[in-house]
Amino acid sequence: MEKITLAGQLFQYLITGLTVGSIYAMVAVGFNIIYNVTEIINFAQGEFVMLGGLIMVFFHVTVGLPLILAFPATVILVTLVGILLDRLAINPIRQPTVLTLIIATIAASILLKGTAMFIWGKDPYDLSAFSGRSPISVFGAVIQPQYLWVIGFLIVIVIILSIFFNRTIIGKAMSACADNPDAASLVGINVKQMILLSFALSAAIGAVAGITVTPISLMEYDRGAMLAVKGFGAAVLGGLGSFPGAILGGLIIGAIESFGAGLISSGYKDAFALIVLLVVLFFKPSGILGSIEISRIKRF
């Protein structure tokens, strides 16, 4: 095996950093969608990713559906879980305060994790890579095709969401709820429906993240918590409420983790991203792309 050059190593760190970062970005986008419409942080976001991976294993491996059918089936099923979360845990709360709702999402995440443990046990599960495992060699770094799928899906999601929020009526209605729910309901937007839609969308995006990452790093029932923490960190880093911020935040955190582990010390990998987060927040409390005015209006 030829020795890998420093440039090759750096490029490798960058690629894997971007791949992992794409997952964090997807989780962060999920956080933002719900936060924008409801001002709550959905702590069950990581569980959507976990469910996406495990349910895909169920459809593709256990039931035997081909990839092209199992993928949408999984996304639909996880979206249903998201809808149930809203209908059963968020909607019924009589006097919703931000704190109460956040606690409801924490409870939901524990419940989902426990249910997953009963159904799938504690073992990690595997999925076959979408287009095989023969690595592509670029500048001495090795890229697995599955990494490209992950980054590719992130790009697709970004494009779809941009079109949705900027060009469709429903998307604009959701943005309106984000800006001012009272005014939005005054112009006839059903805010409760928008909240439901936001949970559904977040769940769907989480599911895509879970499906695409499982062939790389397996999936087990308790992966959700760590992903939620890092995804939330990414969302805050990029500016809570800003979609480009979420993408940027996720990619930055992924890259910092990768470079930090490779160049400085692998034992402290988790600390690097969080240290950077703290430093950025110290200088710009609303996050990199966040806006001071918006963060003042929002209660959180």
Binding site: M1, K3, I4, L6, Q9, Q12, Y13, T16, G17, T19, V20, K122, D123, P124, D126, S128, R133, P135, S137, A141, V142, Q144, V213, I216, S217, L218, E220, D222, R223, M226, E257, S258, F259, A261, G262, L263, S265, S266, G267, K269, D270
Partner: protein, 390 residues
């Protein structure tokens, strides 16, 4: 007759029938043994097979008439891998359940948390955890009087690996380990023993137990061009590291796992990335591969068969540690009854040449682990299954 009289009479009749019917299952008395296993929580892959093994053994023993006519009662508490819960459960076993000995806990951290308690209450404890610190009191340089353990020490695993490497002319190695107690202990043993086996460590990387991507660490290792890589962890990361190792195109570098790799499930999950990987394993994992005249062949084949028959899943290496622990305690009970001091003395002085799942045990006052590095067989993964390595 009044309803009341009928009720009283029928109750007396039922009791009488019960007394007449019970002699078939009557035992003279009962020996109570406690067990602390991490049945749930992140170490459940240790505690669950250990609990299943122990319960299977208890059932077998009681069906055969118990120990000298006494029923063997196993009281199992789930530590959930938490040191505080282990401590509380251990005290409960001693003070409330009044057991004569305890097997477990499953992990090194939880065991170390109760070693002082065992010493204080003078209860024999046979742990199923690996760290050498369990049977080595730093202050006296000797084992703790009341604490024994059954798993091979990580020192022996490291020695087995280094011996194999030396035989194959490897001297420049990279280590990657998890930051848990198990990983840290293994890593420090590898570093300590490296000079003895003339090994140069060119990379020393670490990762967390829940990390899902180890390519950064492996890329760094790739940059140092080692002749072999040793990974020291237990749990899903053992598989992730293999997949990343394959994904990065590093399969030409020989890869060694720790003894934590000992489960066919891991080979399966590695999706082909485990081919050619070396690993030190206790004999119970490769029972079918042992030659007929191997002293451990009979007990390991029997355990394999019984476990599969009862639970319909292949045995786990870790269950074997519970088998060893419980059977040693049972042997002590058979010979000296349930006096705690006598059990301790029996274990220390009379466990010689005890054929267990993971080796042949010889306990003594200076050695409460009882094994040597021969307790490990170097095994290689071939065609998705274990094979003896040359």
């Amino acid at each position: 007759m009044t309803f009341r009289k009928i009720a009283v009479l029928s109750t007396i009749c039922l009791f009488a029938i019960g007394l007449i019917a019970s002699p078939a299952l009557a035992f003279k008395g009962a020996y109570k043994v406690g067990a602390l296993f991490s049945v749930t929580g992140k170490w459940s892959f240790l505690g669950d097979p250990e609990k299943k093994t122990a319960e299977m053994m208890v059932e077998q023993i009681n069906n055969a008439g118990g120990i000298n006519g006494n029923k063997l009662e196993l009281i199992v508490y789930d530590t959930e891998g938490d040191a505080t819960k282990t401590n509380l459960a251990f005290k409960k076993l001693i003070t409330q359940d009044k057991v004569c000995a305890v097997i477990g806990p499953s992990g090194s951290g939880t065991t170390m948390a109760i070693v002082p308690v065992a010493e204080k209450y003078e209860v024999p404890l046979v742990s199923c955890a690996a760290s050498y610190k369990i049977v080595h009191d730093e202050k006296t340089g000797k084992p703790y009087k009341w604490v024994f353990k059954t798993p091979q020490t990580d020192t022996m695993a490291a020695e087995a690996i280094y011996t194999h490497m030396k035989k194959h002319g490897i001297s420049k190695i990279a280590i990657i380990s998890v930051t848990s107690g198990f990983g840290a202990s293994g890593r420090s043993e590898l570093i300590r023993l490296a000079p003895t086996y003339e090994m140069t460590i060119v990379a020393d990387e670490k990762y967390g137990g829940k990390d899902s991507d180890l390519t950064a660490q492996l890329t760094k290792i790739k940059g140092t061009a080692p002749q072999a890589i040793i990974n020291w962890s237990v749990g899903p990361t053992q598989v992730v590291v293999l997949r990343n190792y394959r994904d990065l195109g590093m399969v030409s570098i020989p890869f060694y796992q720790s003894h934590g790799f000992g489960s066919r499930k891991n080979i399966e999950l590695a999706a082909g990335a485990a081919e050619g990987v070396f690993c030190p394993l206790g004999s119970c994992n490769i029972a079918e591969l042992l030659p007929e005249n191997d002293p451990q062949k009979a007990v390991t084949m029997a355990y394999n068969k019984n476990y599969m028959a009862k639970y319909n899943e292949p045995l786990s290496s870790f269950g074997g540690h519970a088998w060893d622990a419980l059977n040693m305690v049972v042997k002590a009970l058979e010979n000296v009854g349930d006096d705690k001091a006598k059990i301790q003395s029996y274990l220390e002085n009379h466990i010689k040449g005890f054929v267990g799942q993971h080796g042949i045990f010889n306990y003594s006052a200076d050695d409460h682990n009882g094994l040597t590095k021969d307790a490990f067989n170097m095994v290689v993964v071939k065609d998705g299954d274990w094979a003896l390595a040359d």
